[in-house]
């Protein structure tokens, strides 16, 4: 197996990456103020590299052809200086990284690259961008950009003067918000039975919850709970634990319940508490977006350069419109030129809109993009010299 970088597969990948970078140079804003890190064997073999001009950067990328290219979300006066304190920190963009693997959900997981998990990651990123970054946080689309990571997830970038000086603690709070870490459910709906008041458990009385004018997580809880009531049928209420009589009562009084909920009165009909005890935690689970906290909070972080190739897949870390983006089609960098490879295990290559099954130890001709993916994943060897 081609598990050691340095064989013919490695040089083939370097050659192809070099060809790509000769024609497609990924350039970040304010190139000269960024620190870069590069890797050939692992994601970052070395860092503290800087480039004064696009020409210098182009020369490096085409000649060195790194398999992994990362840049700082921070801006520095002297990005190549060491130690970190000597760089002259000027500020940092905000980046959210979401690449949750949905292996716990029923699907045929492809360990090579999983279309299902990527689609779920795309949905998460879309929600993160639309509901949280542009919605709650109020950033304009012009201040934000989204790119595919090139492998398992997506990065949402926020640039601009308003965010550059935010502290690590402030960034951590943004993560708390999108992940719903620390959202106090007891503050969202008060007066439920079991709420502690002066150390004593109380009976349900005068339950108050978020209304139609609420904001933040309270608004999300209202929307979700009201949506549930609005859409739910008799069966849904029974599934939620109501007996037939209670369920009928709620369905009958649906409009009244919704009207009262809008005013913040969450116990218009007796017994609703049972429902809220489910819908409130459900809201959190359904609406939160799991992100990599350290990517957002670490101000000295290096992250994949948008437009660069990912050394684990050969796919482009492409800027994208999340509504229409299909990473397994739109981020493919290499064409249909045929390469003969031999996988050492059975694989399914899901690129370019088709799934190609390849058996272990069979020499097969595959399009360049598939060959690059297999070689990057160290799942195949080249059958002949290229």
């Amino acid at each position: 197996m081609a598990d050691e970088r340095g064989g013919k597969e490695f040089f083939f990948l370097k050659k192809k990456f070099s060809e790509y970078y000769s024609k497609n140079l990924p350039l970040p804003a304010e190139l000269a103020r960024r620190e870069f890190g590069f890797g050939w064997d692992k994601k970052i073999d070395y860092r503290h590299k800087a480039f004064a001009s696009p020409e210098e950067f182009r020369y490096f990328m085409a000649n060195e052809a790194p398999l992994y290219c990362s840049y700082s979300t921070a801006y520095y006066e002297l990005p190549a200086a060491r130690p970190m304190e000597k760089k002259g920190f000027l500020g940092t963009d905000i980046v959210f990284d979401t690449d949750r693997q949905y292996t716990d959900e029923p699907h045929k997981h492809n360990s090579l690259i999983c279309p299902y998990c990527l689609e779920r990651a795309r949905q998460d990123a879309l929600r993160l961008h639309e509901e949280f970054v542009c919605g709650d946080f109020g950033f304009s689309p012009a201040e934000t950009s989204v790119n595919f990571s090139g492998s398992k997830g997506f990065h949402v970038h926020i640039a601009g003067a308003a965010v550059r000086q935010l502290s690590q603690s402030a960034r951590s709070q943004l993560v708390d918000y999108v992940q719903a870490d620390g959202v106090e459910l007891a503050r969202l709906v008060t007066g439920m039975a079991g709420d502690k008041e002066k150390g004593k458990r109380t009976k349900a009385a005068g339950m108050r919850g978020p209304g139609r004018d609420s904001t933040g997580w309270a608004k999300k809880v209202f929307d979700y709970s009201a949506g549930f009531v609005s859409r739910a049928s008799l069966d849904s209420f029974k599934e939620a634990g109501f007996n037939a009589k209670q369920a009928e009562k709620i369905v009958e009084e649906k409009e009244f319940v919704l009207k009262k909920m809008g005013e913040g009165n969450w116990d218009a009909v007796p017994g609703l508490e049972k429902l809220w005890k489910k819908t409130v935690p459900w809201t959190i689970e359904k609406k939160k977006v799991v992100v990599d906290r350290s990517v957002t909070t670490d101000q000295a972080r290096l992250i994949r350069l948008p437009g660069s190739l990912h050394g684990d897949t050969g796919l482009i870390a492409k800027k994208c419109n999340l509504k229409t983006f299909d990473p397994l089609k739109d981020a493919v960098a290499f064409g249909s030129e045929i390469v003969r490879v031999r996988p050492e295990e059975d694989v399914v290559v899901p690129l370019g809109g088709e799934e190609r099954e390849i058996k272990a130890n069979a020499s097969v001709d595959v399009p360049m993009a598939a060959a690059i993916l297999l070689l990057c994943k160290k799942k195949a060897v080249l059958v002949q010299e290229y």
Binding site: M84, Q173, G182, T215
Partner: protein, 313 residues
């Protein structure tokens, strides 16, 4: 109203403008004594610090001098207590102010402030400067909505942050009258030098402390591999700061850490560790965060000490 606010709230930009415009042309010994006393009160009699806030030009001068003295003293614990005392006193006063004064002072700290009475809002960026608990905040389209109590709490934090953000001043750079006050205050104020086993005399291994004795910090002290050494040095320096180590003692701890770190293609040098320590000691409000430790791969799981801290928060 600007002069009124300047006199009552000497940390506001109104006061800064007033002093810059020539509001105080000389420094007399009364002002210096008053400044020194306000710092001493912050340690010994916080209730007197709150009461001492007269509404006059001399209060503005005294406050400005107190910050100069604090900056040159290099006692982060004293600076923190002074800032908290001033912020508490200011918050109590602001709570009693008429709406227009309250609003002006708050707007001085949060330029995006809008609204009135019990319905205010600030931009997300303003809120995040010193606010906490965003997950439970009322936020919509980049605005955080606050009632008066919430805004007052935010303002109190902002005042404390501003006061403690001290300039870099060496005692040799200040006028003789102020230098004398610095020396007197230094003698009077309790030492913030670490008084552990080593007391600055022994080797780093003998230096102990509440944070330095945490199992995760002990692991850092034993040295880390490449990729985690910078974060380790940052956590260790913060542990030294929070344990109140004098910088010389902290340097010994950092030197020991550098020696224990694994050698690799990029050596982690004493200069790098020292730069981290300098930076941390210039930011005395930094807190030791178990969560940051975990995020940076320095902590496998929260220990009893972390859990206790979270519970009691």
């Amino acid at each position: 109203m600007d002069a009124f606010i300047a006199a009552r709230y000497p940390f506001s930009s109104f006061a800064k403008k007033y002093l810059k415009a020539g509001g105080a042309d000389t420094i007399d010994s009364d002002a210096v004594d008053s400044a020194k006393q306000s710092i001493i009160n912050a340690i010994s009699a916080p209730e007197r610090q709150a009461r001492a806030s007269s509404d006059s030009k001399s209060r503005m001068v005294s406050y400005a001098l107190a910050r100069v003295i604090l900056a040159a003293l290099g006692k982060p614990g004293t600076a923190r207590k002074f800032a908290n005392g001033e912020a508490d006193a200011a918050a109590a006063k602001l709570d009693e102010e008429k709406e227009d004064v309250f609003f002006e002072v708050a707007k001085d700290f949060f330029p995006s402030l809008a609204g009135e009475d019990d319905e205010y809002n600030v931009s997300l960026a303003d809120f995040l400067k010193c606010g906490s608990g965003l997950a439970n905040a009322k936020i919509e389209r980049g605005k955080v909505f606050l009632d008066k109590t919430e805004l007052l709490g935010l303002l109190r934090s902002a005042i404390a942050f501003k006061i403690i953000d001290l300039p870099r001043i060496k005692p040799s750079e200040v006028p003789p009258l102020v230098r004398e006050a610095i020396e007197e205050a230094d003698e009077w104020l309790p030492s913030e030098t670490f008084r552990g086993t080593a007391g600055g005399r022994g080797g780093a291994g003998e230096i102990e402390g509440k944070y330095l004795d945490l199992s995760c910090v002990k692991k850092i002290r034993a040295g880390l591999e490449e990729g985690r050494r910078y974060y380790g040095s940052m956590a260790l320096a913060i542990a030294c700061l929070r344990d109140g180590l004098a910088k010389d003692d902290a340097k010994k701890v950092m030197e020991e850490y550098v020696a224990n770190c694994r050698r690799s293609t990029h050596p982690f040098t004493a200069r790098e560790a020292s730069a981290t320590l300098d930076w941390v000691y210039k930011h005395p409000t930094l807190r030791f965060s178990c969560r940051t430790m975990k995020e940076n791969g320095l902590l496998d799981d929260y220990c009893e000490a972390c859990l206790f801290r979270y519970k009691t928060r």
